[in-house]
Protein backbone atom coordinates (compact mmCIF):
# COMPACT_ATOMS: atom_id res chain seq x y z
CA UNK A 1 0.00 0.00 0.00
CA UNK A 2 2.69 2.40 1.05
CA UNK A 3 4.50 1.78 -2.24
CA UNK A 4 1.61 3.21 -4.15
CA UNK A 5 1.68 6.35 -2.11
CA UNK A 6 5.38 6.69 -2.56
CA UNK A 7 5.14 6.64 -6.31
CA UNK A 8 2.61 9.47 -6.45
CA UNK A 9 4.55 11.48 -3.92
CA UNK A 10 5.75 14.94 -4.67
CA UNK A 11 9.39 14.21 -5.22
CA UNK A 12 10.59 17.65 -4.21
CA UNK A 13 9.88 16.78 -0.61
CA UNK A 14 11.71 13.51 -0.66
CA UNK A 15 14.49 13.11 1.80
CA UNK A 16 17.49 11.71 -0.01
CA UNK A 17 20.70 11.30 1.91
CA UNK A 18 22.67 11.07 -1.32
CA UNK A 19 21.98 14.72 -2.06
CA UNK A 20 24.25 17.05 -0.08
CA UNK A 21 23.23 20.30 -1.77
CA UNK A 22 21.94 21.28 -5.19
CA UNK A 23 25.60 21.58 -6.22
CA UNK A 24 26.84 18.42 -4.59
CA UNK A 25 25.76 14.82 -4.67
CA UNK A 26 27.12 12.22 -2.31
CA UNK A 27 26.55 9.36 -4.73
CA UNK A 28 24.61 8.90 -7.93
CA UNK A 29 22.85 5.56 -7.53
CA UNK A 30 19.32 5.88 -8.69
CA UNK A 31 16.89 8.37 -10.23
CA UNK A 32 13.87 7.33 -8.23
CA UNK A 33 14.33 9.79 -5.37
CA UNK A 34 15.88 12.75 -7.20
CA UNK A 35 13.90 15.99 -7.18
CA UNK A 36 12.79 17.33 -10.54
CA UNK A 37 14.81 20.51 -10.09
CA UNK A 38 18.02 18.55 -9.67
CA UNK A 39 17.36 16.46 -12.76
CA UNK A 40 16.85 19.65 -14.76
CA UNK A 41 20.04 21.15 -13.28
CA UNK A 42 22.02 18.11 -14.39
CA UNK A 43 20.60 18.48 -17.91
CA UNK A 44 21.53 22.19 -17.96
CA UNK A 45 25.02 21.49 -16.74
CA UNK A 46 25.39 18.76 -19.35
CA UNK A 47 24.40 21.34 -21.94
CA UNK A 48 27.36 23.48 -20.88
CA UNK A 49 29.70 20.52 -21.01
CA UNK A 50 28.46 19.68 -24.49
CA UNK A 51 30.22 22.93 -25.49
CA UNK A 52 33.51 21.60 -24.17
CA UNK A 53 33.43 18.76 -26.69
CA UNK A 54 33.32 21.36 -29.47
CA UNK A 55 36.50 23.10 -28.31
CA UNK A 56 39.90 22.41 -29.85
CA UNK A 57 41.11 21.22 -26.45
CA UNK A 58 38.29 18.96 -25.29
CA UNK A 59 39.25 19.24 -21.70
CA UNK A 60 38.54 21.28 -18.59
CA UNK A 61 40.64 21.06 -15.42
CA UNK A 62 37.66 20.61 -13.07
CA UNK A 63 38.66 17.24 -11.65
CA UNK A 64 42.41 17.58 -12.04
CA UNK A 65 44.26 15.45 -9.49
CA UNK A 66 41.25 13.22 -8.81
CA UNK A 67 41.37 9.50 -9.48
CA UNK A 68 38.31 7.80 -10.87
CA UNK A 69 38.03 4.02 -11.07
CA UNK A 70 35.85 2.33 -13.63
CA UNK A 71 34.90 -0.71 -11.59
CA UNK A 72 33.19 -3.07 -13.99
CA UNK A 73 32.06 -6.49 -12.78
CA UNK A 74 30.23 -7.06 -16.04
CA UNK A 75 31.45 -6.61 -19.57
CA UNK A 76 30.59 -3.32 -21.27
CA UNK A 77 32.32 -1.33 -23.95
CA UNK A 78 30.10 1.63 -24.64
CA UNK A 79 29.23 2.69 -21.12
CA UNK A 80 32.79 2.21 -19.87
CA UNK A 81 34.26 4.16 -22.77
CA UNK A 82 31.93 7.13 -22.42
CA UNK A 83 32.56 7.27 -18.68
CA UNK A 84 36.28 7.13 -19.36
CA UNK A 85 36.07 9.94 -21.90
CA UNK A 86 33.88 12.02 -19.61
CA UNK A 87 36.35 11.61 -16.75
CA UNK A 88 39.32 12.43 -18.96
CA UNK A 89 37.64 15.54 -20.34
CA UNK A 90 37.32 16.67 -16.75
CA UNK A 91 41.08 16.06 -16.39
CA UNK A 92 40.70 13.22 -13.87
CA UNK A 93 43.01 10.23 -13.86
CA UNK A 94 41.12 7.12 -14.87
CA UNK A 95 41.75 3.53 -13.92
CA UNK A 96 39.83 0.80 -15.72
CA UNK A 97 39.24 -2.40 -13.81
CA UNK A 98 37.38 -5.25 -15.42
CA UNK A 99 36.73 -7.64 -12.58
CA UNK A 100 34.50 -9.91 -14.59
CA UNK A 101 36.93 -12.79 -14.55
CA UNK A 102 39.62 -11.70 -12.13
CA UNK A 103 39.55 -11.25 -8.38
CA UNK A 104 35.94 -12.06 -7.67
CA UNK A 105 36.26 -15.43 -9.35
CA UNK A 106 39.24 -16.25 -7.16
CA UNK A 107 37.10 -16.05 -4.06
CA UNK A 108 37.99 -12.50 -3.11
CA UNK A 109 34.80 -10.93 -1.83
CA UNK A 110 33.38 -7.70 -3.14
CA UNK A 111 34.29 -6.02 0.15
CA UNK A 112 37.92 -7.16 -0.08
CA UNK A 113 38.13 -5.71 -3.58
CA UNK A 114 36.72 -2.43 -2.29
CA UNK A 115 39.13 -2.25 0.64
CA UNK A 116 42.06 -2.76 -1.71
CA UNK A 117 40.95 0.02 -4.01
CA UNK A 118 40.31 2.35 -1.09
CA UNK A 119 43.87 1.75 0.02
CA UNK A 120 44.98 3.14 -3.32
CA UNK A 121 43.36 6.48 -2.44
CA UNK A 122 40.87 6.76 -5.24
CA UNK A 123 38.13 9.41 -5.18
CA UNK A 124 35.30 7.88 -7.11
CA UNK A 125 34.12 4.45 -8.23
CA UNK A 126 31.98 4.05 -11.30
CA UNK A 127 30.36 0.69 -10.68
CA UNK A 128 28.72 -1.81 -12.97
CA UNK A 129 27.62 -5.09 -11.41
CA UNK A 130 25.30 -7.94 -12.44
CA UNK A 131 23.43 -7.92 -9.09
CA UNK A 132 20.59 -5.50 -8.35
CA UNK A 133 21.48 -3.32 -5.38
CA UNK A 134 25.25 -3.76 -5.80
CA UNK A 135 25.92 -0.03 -6.19
CA UNK A 136 23.86 0.74 -3.10
CA UNK A 137 25.68 -2.01 -1.18
CA UNK A 138 29.05 -0.61 -2.18
CA UNK A 139 28.01 2.94 -1.30
CA UNK A 140 27.10 1.79 2.21
CA UNK A 141 30.39 0.01 2.72
CA UNK A 142 32.86 2.40 1.18
CA UNK A 143 34.83 5.02 3.10
CA UNK A 144 33.06 8.38 3.27
CA UNK A 145 35.35 10.33 0.94
CA UNK A 146 34.59 8.09 -2.02
CA UNK A 147 31.60 8.68 -4.28
CA UNK A 148 29.82 5.90 -6.10
CA UNK A 149 28.31 6.31 -9.54
CA UNK A 150 25.95 3.54 -10.59
CA UNK A 151 26.75 2.46 -14.14
CA UNK A 152 24.15 -0.30 -14.07
CA UNK A 153 23.26 -2.81 -11.31
CA UNK A 154 21.48 -5.99 -12.32
CA UNK A 155 17.96 -5.24 -13.42
CA UNK A 156 17.64 -2.40 -10.95
CA UNK A 157 18.91 0.89 -12.34
CA UNK A 158 21.07 2.53 -14.98
CA UNK A 159 20.55 6.15 -14.03
CA UNK A 160 23.19 7.81 -16.24
CA UNK A 161 21.75 6.10 -19.32
CA UNK A 162 18.28 7.37 -18.41
CA UNK A 163 19.70 10.88 -17.88
CA UNK A 164 21.32 10.92 -21.31
CA UNK A 165 18.09 9.63 -22.84
CA UNK A 166 16.04 12.45 -21.36
CA UNK A 167 18.79 14.90 -22.33
CA UNK A 168 18.42 13.69 -25.91
CA UNK A 169 14.63 13.86 -25.71
CA UNK A 170 14.77 17.45 -24.43
CA UNK A 171 16.80 18.50 -27.47
CA UNK A 172 13.75 17.62 -29.60
CA UNK A 173 10.91 18.19 -27.16
CA UNK A 174 11.75 20.90 -24.62
CA UNK A 175 8.42 20.56 -22.82
CA UNK A 176 8.18 17.16 -21.14
CA UNK A 177 4.59 17.83 -20.16
CA UNK A 178 3.43 17.63 -23.76
CA UNK A 179 4.90 14.35 -25.01
CA UNK A 180 4.01 10.70 -25.30
CA UNK A 181 6.87 8.27 -24.74
CA UNK A 182 6.88 4.52 -25.38
CA UNK A 183 9.49 2.01 -24.22
CA UNK A 184 9.44 -1.22 -26.22
CA UNK A 185 10.84 -4.67 -25.52
CA UNK A 186 12.22 -6.56 -22.55
CA UNK A 187 11.00 -4.26 -19.79
CA UNK A 188 11.25 -7.02 -17.17
CA UNK A 189 15.00 -7.44 -17.31
CA UNK A 190 15.87 -3.86 -18.26
CA UNK A 191 17.56 -1.52 -15.79
CA UNK A 192 17.41 1.19 -18.46
CA UNK A 193 13.62 0.91 -18.65
CA UNK A 194 13.28 1.02 -14.86
CA UNK A 195 15.37 4.19 -14.55
CA UNK A 196 13.67 5.79 -17.53
CA UNK A 197 10.22 5.17 -16.08
CA UNK A 198 11.26 7.01 -12.91
CA UNK A 199 12.87 9.88 -14.81
CA UNK A 200 9.89 10.40 -17.13
CA UNK A 201 7.46 10.22 -14.22
CA UNK A 202 9.43 12.81 -12.21
CA UNK A 203 9.55 15.10 -15.28
CA UNK A 204 5.76 14.79 -15.45
CA UNK A 205 5.55 13.20 -18.88
CA UNK A 206 1.78 12.68 -19.10
CA UNK A 207 1.73 9.52 -21.20
CA UNK A 208 4.37 6.84 -20.58
CA UNK A 209 3.81 3.47 -22.24
CA UNK A 210 5.63 0.19 -21.96
CA UNK A 211 5.22 -2.29 -24.76
CA UNK A 212 6.14 -5.96 -24.89
CA UNK A 213 4.81 -9.50 -24.56
CA UNK A 214 3.37 -10.20 -21.11
CA UNK A 215 6.33 -12.45 -20.31
CA UNK A 216 8.66 -9.46 -20.58
CA UNK A 217 6.46 -6.94 -18.75
CA UNK A 218 6.92 -6.94 -14.96
CA UNK A 219 3.90 -7.98 -12.88
CA UNK A 220 2.21 -4.80 -11.65
CA UNK A 221 4.21 -2.44 -13.87
CA UNK A 222 1.21 -0.07 -13.78
CA UNK A 223 2.28 0.87 -10.26
CA UNK A 224 5.22 2.74 -11.77
CA UNK A 225 2.84 5.17 -13.41
CA UNK A 226 2.97 3.69 -16.90
CA UNK A 227 0.46 2.08 -19.23
CA UNK A 228 1.33 -1.40 -20.52
CA UNK A 229 0.55 -2.45 -24.08
CA UNK A 230 0.90 -5.89 -25.63
CA UNK A 231 0.04 -4.58 -29.11
CA UNK A 232 2.93 -2.47 -30.40
CA UNK A 233 0.93 -0.76 -33.14
CA UNK A 234 -1.53 0.55 -30.56
CA UNK A 235 1.25 1.32 -28.10
CA UNK A 236 3.41 3.51 -30.36
CA UNK A 237 0.47 5.29 -32.00
CA UNK A 238 1.15 9.04 -32.04
CA UNK A 239 4.14 8.75 -29.73
CA UNK A 240 6.80 11.48 -29.91
CA UNK A 241 9.53 9.26 -28.58
CA UNK A 242 9.92 5.50 -28.98
CA UNK A 243 12.75 3.87 -27.05
CA UNK A 244 13.64 0.40 -28.27
CA UNK A 245 15.36 -1.97 -25.84
CA UNK A 246 17.90 -4.61 -26.70
CA UNK A 247 16.59 -8.17 -26.69
CA UNK A 248 19.04 -10.57 -25.07
CA UNK A 249 19.24 -13.70 -27.16
CA UNK A 250 19.08 -15.93 -24.08
CA UNK A 251 15.42 -14.92 -23.63
CA UNK A 252 14.58 -17.19 -26.53
CA UNK A 253 15.92 -20.27 -24.74
CA UNK A 254 13.99 -19.69 -21.56
CA UNK A 255 10.44 -19.53 -22.90
CA UNK A 256 10.00 -15.77 -22.66
CA UNK A 257 9.35 -15.54 -26.41
CA UNK A 258 8.98 -18.16 -29.16
CA UNK A 259 11.59 -16.97 -31.66
CA UNK A 260 13.29 -13.96 -33.24
CA UNK A 261 11.03 -14.02 -36.25
CA UNK A 262 7.80 -13.68 -34.32
CA UNK A 263 9.42 -11.11 -32.01
CA UNK A 264 10.43 -8.91 -34.91
CA UNK A 265 6.96 -9.14 -36.42
CA UNK A 266 5.27 -8.18 -33.18
CA UNK A 267 7.77 -5.84 -31.52
CA UNK A 268 10.46 -4.96 -34.05
CA UNK A 269 10.65 -1.39 -35.29
CA UNK A 270 10.11 -1.92 -38.99
CA UNK A 271 10.00 1.01 -41.45
CA UNK A 272 6.22 0.79 -41.82
CA UNK A 273 5.80 1.43 -38.09
CA UNK A 274 7.35 4.89 -38.59
CA UNK A 275 3.99 5.92 -40.06
CA UNK A 276 2.28 5.18 -36.76
CA UNK A 277 4.32 7.49 -34.56
CA UNK A 278 3.95 11.24 -34.41
CA UNK A 279 5.15 13.14 -37.51
CA UNK A 280 8.06 14.66 -35.59
CA UNK A 281 8.64 11.50 -33.54
CA UNK A 282 12.11 10.12 -32.85
CA UNK A 283 13.42 6.58 -32.33
CA UNK A 284 15.98 5.81 -29.62
CA UNK A 285 17.97 2.77 -28.53
CA UNK A 286 20.45 2.47 -25.63
CA UNK A 287 22.63 0.16 -27.69
CA UNK A 288 24.14 -2.08 -28.71
CA UNK A 289 21.55 -2.62 -31.44
CA UNK A 290 20.43 -6.07 -32.58
CA UNK A 291 19.69 -5.22 -36.16
CA UNK A 292 16.73 -7.13 -37.52
CA UNK A 293 15.72 -8.35 -34.07
CA UNK A 294 14.26 -5.32 -32.32
CA UNK A 295 14.87 -2.69 -35.00
CA UNK A 296 15.49 -2.72 -38.75
CA UNK A 297 18.67 -1.18 -40.14
CA UNK A 298 16.57 1.16 -42.19
CA UNK A 299 15.04 2.67 -39.07
CA UNK A 300 18.20 2.52 -36.95
CA UNK A 301 20.20 4.39 -39.60
CA UNK A 302 17.32 6.57 -40.81
CA UNK A 303 16.65 10.23 -40.18
CA UNK A 304 14.21 9.58 -37.34
CA UNK A 305 16.85 7.70 -35.38
CA UNK A 306 18.87 9.59 -32.75
CA UNK A 307 20.88 6.59 -31.61
CA UNK A 308 24.30 8.11 -32.34
CA UNK A 309 23.36 11.42 -30.73
CA UNK A 310 22.54 9.44 -27.59
CA UNK A 311 26.11 8.20 -27.56
CA UNK A 312 27.70 11.63 -27.88
CA UNK A 313 25.24 13.15 -25.39
CA UNK A 314 26.30 10.43 -23.00
CA UNK A 315 29.69 12.03 -22.56
CA UNK A 316 28.37 15.48 -21.63
CA UNK A 317 25.72 14.06 -19.31
CA UNK A 318 28.27 11.88 -17.57
CA UNK A 319 30.64 14.86 -17.22
CA UNK A 320 27.83 16.70 -15.46
CA UNK A 321 27.11 13.79 -13.13
CA UNK A 322 30.78 13.14 -12.34
CA UNK A 323 31.48 16.77 -11.49
CA UNK A 324 28.37 17.09 -9.31
CA UNK A 325 29.22 13.93 -7.42
CA UNK A 326 32.92 14.47 -6.73
CA UNK A 327 33.73 14.95 -3.04
CA UNK A 328 36.06 17.76 -1.93
Amino acid sequence: MSENKEINLDNENKNNSDIISPKHLRHFLDIENLPKSLILDILDLAESFAGVSGQPVKKVPLLRGKTIVNLFFEASTRTRTTFELAAKRLSADVLNLNLDFSATKKGETLLDTLRNLEAMHCDMFIVRHPSSGAAEFISKNVSPNISIINAGDGRHAHPTQAMLDIFTIRKYFPDFKKIKVAIVGDILHSRVARSLMHALRILEVPDIRVIGPKTLLPVGVEDMGVTPYVDMDKGIKDCNVVIMLRLQTERMNSSFIPDEHEYYNLYGFSPKRLDLISKNGIVMHPGPVNRGVEISSEVADGNRSVILQQVSNGIAVRMAILSLSMQP
Binding site: S21, P22, K23, H24, D41, I42, D44, L45, E47, S48, F49, G51, V52, Q55, P56, V57, K59, V60, P61, L62, A320, S323, L324, M326, Q327, P328
Partner: protein, 170 residues
Protein backbone atom coordinates in the same frame (compact mmCIF):
# COMPACT_ATOMS: atom_id res chain seq x y z
CA UNK B 1 27.19 51.30 -0.48
CA UNK B 2 26.20 51.81 -4.06
CA UNK B 3 27.94 53.75 -6.78
CA UNK B 4 25.63 55.97 -8.74
CA UNK B 5 24.91 55.26 -12.37
CA UNK B 6 27.03 58.21 -13.34
CA UNK B 7 29.95 57.20 -11.16
CA UNK B 8 29.96 53.74 -12.73
CA UNK B 9 29.61 55.31 -16.15
CA UNK B 10 32.62 57.50 -15.49
CA UNK B 11 34.74 54.46 -14.61
CA UNK B 12 33.58 52.68 -17.75
CA UNK B 13 34.49 55.74 -19.79
CA UNK B 14 37.88 55.85 -18.11
CA UNK B 15 38.84 52.28 -19.01
CA UNK B 16 37.52 52.79 -22.52
CA UNK B 17 39.79 55.79 -22.98
CA UNK B 18 42.75 54.03 -21.40
CA UNK B 19 42.22 51.04 -23.64
CA UNK B 20 42.06 53.23 -26.75
CA UNK B 21 45.37 54.85 -25.78
CA UNK B 22 46.88 51.51 -24.99
CA UNK B 23 45.91 50.00 -28.36
CA UNK B 24 47.21 53.00 -30.19
CA UNK B 25 50.47 53.11 -28.27
CA UNK B 26 51.13 49.42 -28.80
CA UNK B 27 49.94 49.49 -32.37
CA UNK B 28 47.34 46.77 -31.92
CA UNK B 29 44.94 46.65 -34.84
CA UNK B 30 42.50 43.85 -34.28
CA UNK B 31 42.36 42.83 -30.65
CA UNK B 32 40.22 39.92 -29.47
CA UNK B 33 38.09 41.25 -26.63
CA UNK B 34 37.03 38.52 -24.19
CA UNK B 35 34.77 39.12 -21.21
CA UNK B 36 34.55 36.91 -18.14
CA UNK B 37 31.00 35.88 -17.20
CA UNK B 38 28.92 37.71 -16.22
CA UNK B 39 29.96 41.29 -15.40
CA UNK B 40 33.12 41.15 -17.52
CA UNK B 41 31.08 40.00 -20.51
CA UNK B 42 28.79 43.05 -20.25
CA UNK B 43 31.76 45.41 -20.13
CA UNK B 44 33.45 43.56 -23.00
CA UNK B 45 30.35 43.91 -25.16
CA UNK B 46 30.27 47.63 -24.41
CA UNK B 47 33.94 48.08 -25.25
CA UNK B 48 33.53 46.05 -28.45
CA UNK B 49 30.77 48.40 -29.57
CA UNK B 50 32.34 51.67 -28.44
CA UNK B 51 35.69 50.84 -30.02
CA UNK B 52 33.87 50.26 -33.28
CA UNK B 53 34.31 46.53 -33.73
CA UNK B 54 31.52 44.43 -35.21
CA UNK B 55 29.58 41.67 -33.41
CA UNK B 56 29.64 40.61 -29.80
CA UNK B 57 32.74 40.21 -27.73
CA UNK B 58 33.89 36.69 -26.91
CA UNK B 59 32.93 35.43 -23.46
CA UNK B 60 34.48 33.01 -21.04
CA UNK B 61 32.80 31.03 -18.37
CA UNK B 62 35.51 29.94 -16.04
CA UNK B 63 33.26 27.72 -13.83
CA UNK B 64 34.97 24.61 -15.16
CA UNK B 65 38.42 26.11 -14.48
CA UNK B 66 37.95 27.27 -10.90
CA UNK B 67 40.44 26.03 -8.32
CA UNK B 68 37.88 26.19 -5.53
CA UNK B 69 35.56 23.75 -7.30
CA UNK B 70 35.93 21.06 -4.65
CA UNK B 71 34.87 23.54 -1.98
CA UNK B 72 31.89 25.13 -3.64
CA UNK B 73 30.79 22.60 -6.25
CA UNK B 74 29.60 23.35 -9.74
CA UNK B 75 26.86 25.82 -10.37
CA UNK B 76 24.47 23.95 -12.65
CA UNK B 77 23.43 27.15 -14.46
CA UNK B 78 26.63 27.67 -16.40
CA UNK B 79 26.45 30.00 -19.39
CA UNK B 80 28.55 28.50 -22.15
CA UNK B 81 31.87 29.93 -23.20
CA UNK B 82 31.64 31.65 -26.61
CA UNK B 83 34.82 31.88 -28.60
CA UNK B 84 33.78 32.80 -32.15
CA UNK B 85 37.27 32.96 -33.64
CA UNK B 86 40.62 31.38 -33.00
CA UNK B 87 42.80 32.97 -30.30
CA UNK B 88 46.02 31.97 -32.07
CA UNK B 89 48.42 34.95 -32.41
CA UNK B 90 45.71 37.37 -31.29
CA UNK B 91 46.17 40.28 -28.93
CA UNK B 92 43.65 39.30 -26.27
CA UNK B 93 41.98 41.99 -24.19
CA UNK B 94 40.68 40.11 -21.15
CA UNK B 95 37.89 42.06 -19.44
CA UNK B 96 36.49 41.53 -15.95
CA UNK B 97 34.49 43.68 -13.57
CA UNK B 98 36.58 43.23 -10.43
CA UNK B 99 40.13 42.00 -9.83
CA UNK B 100 40.32 40.61 -6.31
CA UNK B 101 42.35 37.46 -5.46
CA UNK B 102 43.48 36.95 -9.06
CA UNK B 103 42.16 33.41 -9.17
CA UNK B 104 39.43 34.15 -11.69
CA UNK B 105 42.01 35.76 -13.98
CA UNK B 106 44.29 32.74 -13.54
CA UNK B 107 41.41 30.42 -14.52
CA UNK B 108 40.49 32.64 -17.48
CA UNK B 109 44.05 32.65 -18.80
CA UNK B 110 44.16 28.88 -18.45
CA UNK B 111 40.97 28.55 -20.42
CA UNK B 112 42.20 30.96 -23.11
CA UNK B 113 45.30 28.84 -23.57
CA UNK B 114 43.09 25.75 -24.04
CA UNK B 115 41.76 27.51 -27.14
CA UNK B 116 45.15 28.32 -28.59
CA UNK B 117 48.28 30.47 -28.24
CA UNK B 118 47.52 34.21 -28.12
CA UNK B 119 50.21 36.75 -28.96
CA UNK B 120 49.54 38.71 -25.78
CA UNK B 121 46.95 39.04 -23.02
CA UNK B 122 46.05 42.43 -21.53
CA UNK B 123 43.90 42.61 -18.43
CA UNK B 124 41.24 45.31 -18.17
CA UNK B 125 39.09 45.65 -15.02
CA UNK B 126 36.63 48.19 -13.75
CA UNK B 127 37.83 47.95 -10.14
CA UNK B 128 41.03 46.55 -8.71
CA UNK B 129 40.60 45.92 -4.98
CA UNK B 130 42.99 44.85 -2.25
CA UNK B 131 43.38 41.17 -1.40
CA UNK B 132 45.50 39.90 -4.25
CA UNK B 133 46.71 36.33 -3.72
CA UNK B 134 48.51 35.78 -7.01
CA UNK B 135 51.13 37.81 -8.94
CA UNK B 136 48.47 39.29 -11.19
CA UNK B 137 47.60 42.97 -11.64
CA UNK B 138 45.49 44.87 -14.14
CA UNK B 139 47.06 46.70 -17.07
CA UNK B 140 44.06 49.00 -17.24
CA UNK B 141 41.63 49.75 -14.42
CA UNK B 142 38.88 52.21 -13.57
CA UNK B 143 39.93 52.69 -9.96
CA UNK B 144 41.76 51.00 -7.08
CA UNK B 145 39.77 50.35 -3.95
CA UNK B 146 40.61 49.44 -0.34
CA UNK B 147 37.80 47.34 1.14
CA UNK B 148 37.36 45.48 4.44
CA UNK B 149 37.81 41.72 4.17
CA UNK B 150 34.13 41.09 4.81
CA UNK B 151 33.01 43.21 1.88
CA UNK B 152 32.45 42.28 -1.73
CA UNK B 153 32.10 44.54 -4.71
CA UNK B 154 29.91 43.44 -7.57
CA UNK B 155 28.52 44.80 -10.79
CA UNK B 156 24.78 44.96 -11.36
CA UNK B 157 23.58 45.16 -14.91
CA UNK B 158 23.71 44.95 -17.80
CA UNK B 159 21.63 48.06 -18.41
CA UNK B 160 22.46 50.25 -16.61
CA UNK B 161 25.63 48.95 -15.02
CA UNK B 162 26.02 49.92 -11.37
CA UNK B 163 28.72 48.92 -8.92
CA UNK B 164 27.69 47.91 -5.42
CA UNK B 165 29.62 47.08 -2.26
CA UNK B 166 27.90 44.40 -0.18
CA UNK B 167 28.60 42.18 2.83
CA UNK B 168 30.24 38.92 1.81
CA UNK B 169 27.67 36.62 3.33
CA UNK B 170 24.68 38.47 1.90
Amino acid sequence: MKYSKDQTQALLQKIENSLKDYLLKNNIQNPLIIGVHTGGAWIADLLQKNLGYKGKAASLNISFYRDDFSKVGVNPKVEPTEMPISVDDKHVILVDDVLYTGRTTRAAINEIFDFGRPHSVTLVVLVERNGNELPISADIFGEKLELDNDKNIKLLGPDPMILEVVDKDS
